[in-house]
């Protein structure tokens, strides 16, 4: 017992200050990419060609990057001869619609807070059932880590529960394999209404690196309705937490932030 107490003193209090304080992130983190349209004048398409998931489109309307498909790998940034695409350490990535994940056309709009009625229901107590449907255990691990003392998800009233019957919604990872489709549908049906669906990671949003394989369904959309999209491969735990808190209206700052396209 004494040893455990001494160990407790050695290990210290380690819960992050986020969201009251800014998160501490690795300086090489590939967060939200920034597109500098002025630098991409000749539309050489080299970025689109190296992109593993064809997340980049270059046409008459300019350069667009679909964060829902993006694996946040360094390929496009390294390939662009003009430096028109640059990964920033911006960790806020969650959106309320699939379209909002496409960078380059309009102002990037972060996830909206639930409407007042839903916020009354879920705002102070949100129970989620996690379903991995072909996920590689990357997203799963960085969702699971929110339960550790570092992120201490419980302090926000958010909890992962063992049964869909106890849940207010699903958090889905993976491209939804053909072999998990029925299990995902049944789990969704087992959650009492009203319910939320959160898609975490490139796979759950678009199929990720498996997009187009006949063994999977290119993400959760089309099988269940999605309320919150959190892109990444996998998203950093802070990105996931930011998305969840934004949905519940627990982030103090305004939802809109300045546009990336300048």
């Amino acid at each position: 017992m004494l040893k455990a107490l001494l160990a407790r003193a050695h290990q210290k209090h380690r819960t992050v200050g986020f969201p009251d304080q800014p998160p501490v992130l690795p300086d090489r983190l590939r967060g939200r990419p920034e597109i500098d349209a002025a630098k991409c004048s000749d539309g050489c398409r080299v970025c689109a060609e190296v992109c593993p998931t064809d997340a980049i489109t270059v046409d008459a309307k300019g350069l667009r990057l679909d964060l829902g498909r993006c694996l946040f790998c360094p390929e496009c940034e390294r390939a662009c001869p003009e430096g028109a695409i640059r990964f920033t350490t911006e960790h806020r990535l969650a959106t309320s619609s699939r379209d909002a994940l496409v960078l380059g056309e309009k102002e990037f709009q972060l996830a909206r807070t639930l409407d007042e009625k839903a916020r009354k229901l879920f705002g102070r107590s949100l129970k989620l059932r996690q379903v991995s449907a072909g996920g590689c255990n990357g997203c799963e691990a960085d969702v699971n880590v929110l339960n550790t003392v570092v992120f201490d998800l419980g302090r926000f009233g958010i909890q992962f529960v063992a049964s869909p019957r106890h849940a207010d919604g699903l958090l889905i990872t993976g491209p939804v394999t053909r072999n998990m489709e029925s299990a995902l549908r049944q789990t969704y049906e087992a959650v009492p209404s009203p319910k939320l669906v959160i898609a975490v990671g490139a796979c759950a949003i678009s199929g990720g690196p498996y997009v187009g394989h006949s063994e999977q369904r290119n993400g959760a959309e089309g099988i269940v309705p999605v309320d919150l999209y959190i892109p990444g491969c996998p998203p950093h735990p802070i990105t996931i937490l930011d998305g969840l808190l934004r949905l519940l209206g627990r982030m103090d700052s305004a939802c809109r932030i300045s546009p990336i396209m300048r």
Binding site: K3, A4, A7, R8, H10, Q11, P26, R28, L29, R30, E49, P52, T53, L71, F72, C73, P74, E75, R78, R129, Q130, S132, A133, G134, G135, C136, N137, G138, C139, E140, A141, D142, V143, N144, V145, N147, T148, V149, V150, F160, A162, S163, P164, G174, T177, R178, N179, M180, S182, A183, T187, G208, P209, Y210, H213, S214, E215, Q216, C233, P234
Partner: protein, 507 residues
């Protein structure tokens, strides 16, 4: 029976496809059984279509004693006499061959699908399932037990925690488990099939997500395979940094697992501390490349991110802090009698069983087998810098926990050594096209165990076939065996002590 020495290869050595002996099936079978009887084991056994009505079977045999691999092949039609009745290691491989190519291993004692998909060869199905009707996962015969008060417990595919899907069936009498049958395939996303015709821009992301918690391990096995096929020499600095990343991956997973094992026996101090310390190690990988799982780091020819001087110093400093923290947290486990009494004797896998099943990695080492790719089939920097093999003899949950702890200490010491000895120079070499009509076997020691990639190229130097064997492929049967005669309430503990990959198995 040997038809020349060309069948003996080293890890990461490209050989001409025509140089691989193509034996009669009888000779192939005898050869495999003989090698396994002499202490060798099956690292991979798979089929590749050869002509319209035939499948070429390749067997990769590993001899831990002399660090040599043997590569044999044969051709089969619609069926062949199964190896499994004599050699249990072949069990899962033969089910995979039957499922993928519709080749029936006759006399196989438990021929069921492992991933639940249609055969890749039109008109050939080992179970004569009609082509138009979707294959339902988990729908198959299960081992059953009858008798008074006997009951069956079925769990999954959706589990209670945040984990990947799989289905488990327990045959119980009261609390006691007589048999556990594990049915997977829910994570099958068709990776191997999609790799054919590569390498292309999708290849690396597929490698990085074969088993997402083993990003470095699988990507390294892949890169070493293509580097062998392209005769590419990786700079020394890159080799060292790759090994550092591989050991950081081991550290994160091992410390996380020790925390989870503590949690499963209700010992919360270590559970809480290690849950955090796992993240501290992941953050060290992110310090190098920006991603906690090491995505974007390892590429053919080397690595994409170098350590500058400040980063180097920071890595050393933070690793030292993590070393102190993990030592403090894990030692609590060994000092707590309540933990030890739950770990000891739980889920034992005797050495003979582990050998018979061909277990790999820490599960094998915890059953007293000195089996470690880093020592016996070293590649990269491990050829020059050895890590002692950590093993323990009891095969129990305690042994698997203890081996993890020994490996944590040795991996940290290894990283410090490598950081001190890090040579200057480039971290990536250019890589040309792959040599045509060759084969290569690439092994790395991921944190779970041996990762085996076998790559065959076609006449254009593209992937004609790509076989991935995740350590979990060998080890799921080990978990099933560990549960025999155990209390069903100990399943989470036993399961976590293996912590096997679903997606790495399902591909």
């Amino acid at each position: 029976m040997k038809t020349g020495a060309s069948n003996v290869i080293r890890n990461g050595e490209a050989v001409l496809l025509t140089g691989i002996p193509n034996l009669s099936f009888t000779d192939f079978r005898e050869q495999l059984l003989q090698v396994c009887e002499d202490g060798g084991r099956i690292a991979a056994l798979f089929g590749q279509p050869a002509g319209t009505d035939s499948i070429r079977l390749f067997g990769v045999l590993a001899n831990d004693a002399n660090g040599q691999l043997e590569l044999w092949s044969t051709e089969v039609g619609g069926h062949y006499p199964a190896l499994t009745p004599i050699c249990a290691q072949a069990h899962w491989f033969e089910r995979e061959i039957a499922e993928q190519w519709g080749v029936k291993p006759e006399g196989h004692p438990w021929l069921k699908p492992i991933r639940f998909h249609h055969s890749y060869r039109e008109g050939h199905d080992a179970w004569n399932r009609p082509a138009g009707i979707p294959v339902q996962p988990g729908v198959a015969d299960f081992f059953t037990m009858t008798g008074e008060e006997v009951h069956e417990v079925a769990v999954g595919p959706v589990h209670a925690g945040i984990i990947e899907p799989g289905h488990f069936r327990f045959q119980c009498h009261g609390e006691k488990v007589y048999h556990l049958e594990i049915s997977l395939g829910y994570q099958h996303r068709g990776v191997e099939r999609a790799l054919i015709g590569g390498p292309d821009k999708r290849t690396i992301p597929c490698m990085e997500t074969l088993a997402g918690d083993t990003t470095i391990g699988h990507t390294l096995a892949h890169c070493e395979a293509v580097e062998a096929l392209a005769a590419c020499r990786v700079p020394a600095r890159a080799q060292a940094l790759r090994a550092i990343a591989l050991e950081l991956e081991r550290l994160a997973n091992h410390s996380g697992d020790l925390g989870a094992l503590a949690g499963d026996v209700g010992y919360l101090p270590t559970a809480s501390f290690c849950g955090r310390i796992r993240g501290d190690f992941l953050n060290l990988t992110a310090l190098i490349c920006g991603n906690r799982f090491g995505r974007g780091l390892v590429r053919p020819g080397g690595i994409l991110f170098d350590l500058d001087q400040t980063r180097h110093a920071q890595l050393e400093e933070r690793l030292e802090q993590a070393r102190k923290d993990v030592t403090n947290a894990v030692n609590l486990l060994w000092d707590a009698p309540s933990v030890r009494s739950r770990f000891e004797n739980a889920g034992p896998v005797p050495r003979e069983t582990a050998l018979e099943l061909g277990l790999v990695g820490l599960a094998a080492r915890a059953s007293g087998i000195d089996r470690d790719v880093r020592a016996q089939f070293p590649s990269g920097i491990y050829r020059f810098a050895q890590i002692p093999v950590s093993s323990y003899h009891t095969g129990s949950v305690f042994a698997r926990a203890h081996v993890r702890w020994m490996e944590i200490q040795r991996s940290i010491a290894f990283i410090f050594d490598q950081l001190r000895a890090l040579t200057d120079g480039p971290v990536r070499a250019g890589i040309g096209p792959l040599v045509a009509n060759h084969a290569v076997v690439s092994l790395t020691e991921g944190w779970r165990g041996e990762i085996c990639h076998v790559v065959l190229t076609d006449a254009a130097g593209k992937f004609a076939h790509y076989k991935v064997v995740d350590p979990s492929f060998h080890n799921w049967m080990g978990l099933a065996q560990a549960m025999r005669d155990q209390q069903i309430s100990d399943f989470p503990l036993c399961n976590k002590s293996f912590n096997l990959s679903y997606c790495g198995h399902d591909l």
